[in-house]
Amino acid sequence: MSPILERVLDATTTGAMTSKRPQQNLQGTVHLTTPSDSGEKPRISLLGTSAMLFEAPGELDLQTQRRIWALGQRAAKWDGIREAVPGMSNLMLTFDRPPRQPASLVAALHDAWEAAEELSLEGKTVVLPVQYGGDFGPHLSDVVAHTGLSVDEIVALHSEPLYTVYALGSHPGYCYLGGMDPRIAAPRRKVPVLGLPGGAVSIGGVQTGVSASAGPSGWNTIGHTDMSFFDPARTNPAMFAPGDMIRFSVERIVR
């Protein structure tokens, strides 16, 4: 069983907050800033009685993500699993009904992860024109301040890669993209910003993405693109799927 889940179950069944557990155990086994730093073992935790979260060890890269896709396809077929939802090098399983023995699901996840081969999803490639900065990129200056790079350097680094859609989430049609240059990483905002328009291109930590509709966000919005990502009338409602590729082209930079 994963040490994480073990600790959570232990903490709750004893009813203890800490008093019954040695302090060095608390301090010594937690790897949080970068769960992947622990190197070898996946991290598995419960989201109440509704879901379980599997976090892969290692870097946030395409190889890991391809194994996450494979794990998701497999776990989606397990009894009692409502949905397998890939995230960024992680996978959430939601339950039809909460399993009485979550430990067996934990074991199944470990086994399936060990066995998971890289699943290559060959998707389409789409170019999205972006207007960087100005009213639609209100936090570009914060990324400048954090990275010490100039606006031009940030835009150049952001529009250079061919990004892969790793997962969808956040809101209908939103794509989490892999492949951002870590030099333009910037921490999520202390307080989420309300009422951002759809098409917002943003950076959150080492990730980047494009919002599909207006709403709140805790990421740094650096630009804007006009594109419709979601049509609820379709059986497959999202325009992008994991494995698709996106390139941002620089339409304009507003300083």
Partner: protein
């Protein structure tokens, strides 16, 4: 079937929620108080997946454009049908042109208006619930406004069933039957107590913060809605900065943004996020949370996974019992 007479915003069409589209970025939506919605449907003999109207702002007024049975559940509203008082958790028969006024609740935050047959809006991606962020589902993908006419699904009359079989009875509120939860130290009676299971980053927090999390009352701030409740209380401090990769989350997850003030994700929440999670309010208690008002206080009581599953089973047994009681009540009517 009914025409909305008030300007009260924020009322939406909701059912038990939209399942199976999280991987497209589509959250579940659905009633904040799923128990109240389910009970209303039971009382009217509606299908379990029927939709009703969730009302969080009062007074709310509608006019019936034809005769129909309806039910009011959820918050303890002072409602009137014309001049007649309507008790909460009650079902009644309305006549064409009757005006129903739902007043400010004595307790609770959200009232559910259910119509015989259920609200008739198209099923989008498996649900009639309003997806506000995606602007689909529910009534044209938006909140109701003055002048909207909401239809109920046509109902085939069941042989031998008269309209009186459907209306004119009430049930005991679930908070009476299921009871309030106990805390230590003892909570103020006005506080809403919910059970919380520690989540993935629980141990990332300083000991003082963890103790404060369980001990203190948390104020539901005005920036609280169907997306989530932003809470006010002691600042929760992590041992070092925590930056997570984006991952799936579910309603009930308590995230802690860098401000240290927790946010409980609720029915309209994003299906994914990256803030660290200190705990999750268990599914069996989300209906309690739904009825906590802005300005009121919450208390968290630590639970185990086993206890949380038991709590869900208890809630299911309660619903089954209620279903049998309502069936029995119908059966004894002449």
């Amino acid at each position: 079937m009914i025409e909305v007479l008030s300007n009260a915003a924020l009322a939406t069409i909701q059912d038990q929620g939209r399942q199976g589209y999280l991987r497209y970025g589509v959250g579940t939506s659905g009633a904040m108080d799923r128990v109240a919605l389910a009970i209303g449907n039971l009382m009217l003999g509606n299908p379990d997946d029927a939709a009703g109207i969730e009302i969080p702002l009062f007074p709310f007024r509608v006019r019936f454009t034809q005769d129909t049975a309806f039910a009011l559940t959820g918050a303890d509203c002072s409602a009137r049908l014309g001049e007649r008082p309507v008790l909460p958790w009650w079902t009644l028969q309305a006549k064409k042109d009757d005006v129903l006024t739902i007043g400010v609740p004595a307790s609770g935050a959200r009232c559910y208006l259910l119509l015989k047959g259920g609200v008739d809006v198209p099923v989008v991606l498996g649900s009639r619930s309003t997806q506000l962020r995606g602007e689909f589902g529910g009534f044209l993908g938006r909140q109701l406004k003055k002048g909207d006419v909401v239809q109920a699904a046509a109902v085939e009359p069941v042989h031998g069933e008269t309209i009186n079989d459907l209306a004119g009875f009430g049930i005991t509120p679930p908070s009476w039957t299921l009871g309030e939860l106990e805390t230590s130290p003892v909570a103020d009676p006005a506080d809403t107590v919910v059970r919380v299971l520690p989540a993935g980053e629980y141990e990332a927090y300083e000991q003082d913060s963890i103790e404060a999390f369980w001990r203190e009352s948390w104020k539901v701030t005005p920036q609280s809605d169907r997306y989530g409740y932003r809470l006010g209380g002691p600042v929760l401090v992590s041992k070092r900065p925590v930056e997570m990769r984006s991952h799936g989350i579910v309603p009930g997850v308590i995230q802690v943004p860098p401000s240290g003030q927790p946010i409980i994700q609720l029915r309209d929440a994003q299906p994914s996020g990256g803030y660290p999670k200190i705990g999750t309010v268990v599914e069996a208690d989300l209906w309690r949370l739904a009825q906590a008002r802005i300005g009121s206080k919450l208390r968290f009581v630590q639970t185990s996974y086993e206890e949380a599953v038991d709590a869900q089973d208890e809630l299911d047994r309660y619903m089954t019992k209620l279903r049998n009681l309502v069936g029995l009540h119908r059966g004894t009517r002449p």
